[in-house]
Symmetry: C2
Subunit: 247 residues, 2 copies
């Protein structure tokens, strides 16, 4: 199949949030991600490759130059898929039984993607994002999940809605902050919701009010002022998992 | 002081490695980083700001447009400093008494910077990089250290040189890998050198030979195939620090 010029224009436009919203589509790139996309819960819109042997039945064969026009990567991969956004990300689980993470205004797409990747590693299937978090379908978020966005469920809502839902499900909200109980001394429960603040503003008032002074902190030896948000989240999830294994 | 056109051209050129090497200079941006640079071990070459009240004795006052021409950031900060590269990064410590990290071919500038930031948090002052690691003075590395590059010492050398030096200092080399002793069960010694593999190739042969089958692995519950290199490093350093605190 030969792609039309308007296809290339469409794919290229999906680098912008405006057009991702208008078309309800997003892009994944790279062999591993595209392979996984084809068997994921996300419905395929169109498939492009410079490799003519790749799914010849449904793949548009493109030249390297055409791929460069479509790709958001500085070094384009030979594989690119356009997927329909999942309405499922809007659905809320009826029962929840693992720890969850709440992102309070995370702005960096790489941080959000990396957090999803680490969450999946430690068996966390649900991540909640306040509505002002960076978009899940941002190309940099998608690529930095390394495929975890196909398996971890991400729920965007107002802070109040997230708080109410988790409190109704008997979760304990716990904020990662510069001051609080030492992470290494805190004993995690089975229903833990870890709140991670934004890169520039930390945890904001609505969340702070719901936290009821439950804060954990990562002990520090050196003089660094803070940790990267995805690093802090990963350290906390690792300790949570360590305690679970060694209960 | 008013900057000359050739100053702007010089600063702009330092976004490229070729010119950083030629001039032995690099750039830091942002108020916090620039403030810290002024009291760091790095010698100041020149200082630029759109804020005419900022160090009027030594700062070149520039327009917003001039700053945009010099900056490597998509949203330029009002503060930018050009520093001389430190010859000190070439010096090797005579005695070493904390854990150290070895980067075996880390290619992503954000990963290297984030690792330095986390290393400092946990009191690790020396990081060793194989010569093919991304450059410390890459603008993205510099910015993602959030100032830790002013305090953590980074040593670039051939893998063999790093191995010999650490073995002579009685360090135990330990590779972070997909298989090995569980991080949570491994007992860290006081002289631990954690080897982190590159994003695409993992730990390579020269390092593997020196590791003598000492590997640690981060236990996994989900299906994620791997962790981001800076995330894996951070999780290991946190566990190392936890054990140190709770000895």
């Amino acid at each position: 199949m030969v792609p039309l010029k308007k296809d290339i224009k469409l794919v290229r436009s999906l680098q912008q949030k405006k057009f991702r919203n208008e078309h309800q589509l997003f892009v994944v790139e790279g062999r591993k991600m595209v392979d996984e996309a084809l068997t994921s819960r996300f419905k395929l819109h169109s498939l492009y490759s410079t490799d003519s042997a790749y799914h010849p039945d449904k793949c548009h064969h493109v030249t390297k130059k055409e791929m460069e026009m479509m790709s958001s990567l500085s070094t384009p991969s030979p594989y690119l898929a356009v997927l329909h956004k999942s309405p499922e990300t809007e659905q809320w689980p009826k029962t929840l039984d693992t720890a969850v993470v709440i992102m309070d205004g995370i702005a960096d797409p790489g941080n959000l993607g990396t957090i999803l990747r680490t969450a999946e590693w430690f068996g966390i299937n649900h991540v909640f994002c306040t509505e002002d978090c960076v978009e899940l379908y941002n190309p940099k978020t998608v690529q930095s999940t390394m495929g975890s966005l196909f398996r971890v469920h991400v729920h965007y809502a107002a802070a109040e809605t997230i708080i109410r839902y988790l409190q109704e499900n008997n979760y304990k909200l716990n904020g990662a902050d510069m001051k609080g109980t030492s992470l290494y001394e805190y004993r995690f429960t089975n229903k833990e919701a870890i709140v991670i603040g934004s890169e520039s503003h930390g945890i904001r008032d609505t969340m702070r009010q719901a936290l009821d002074d439950n804060y954990i902190t990562i002990p520090r030896h050196g003089h660094a002022e803070s940790l990267n948000a995805s690093v802090a989240t990963s350290i906390i999830l690792s300790e949570l998992y360590r305690q679970k294994l060694h209960q």
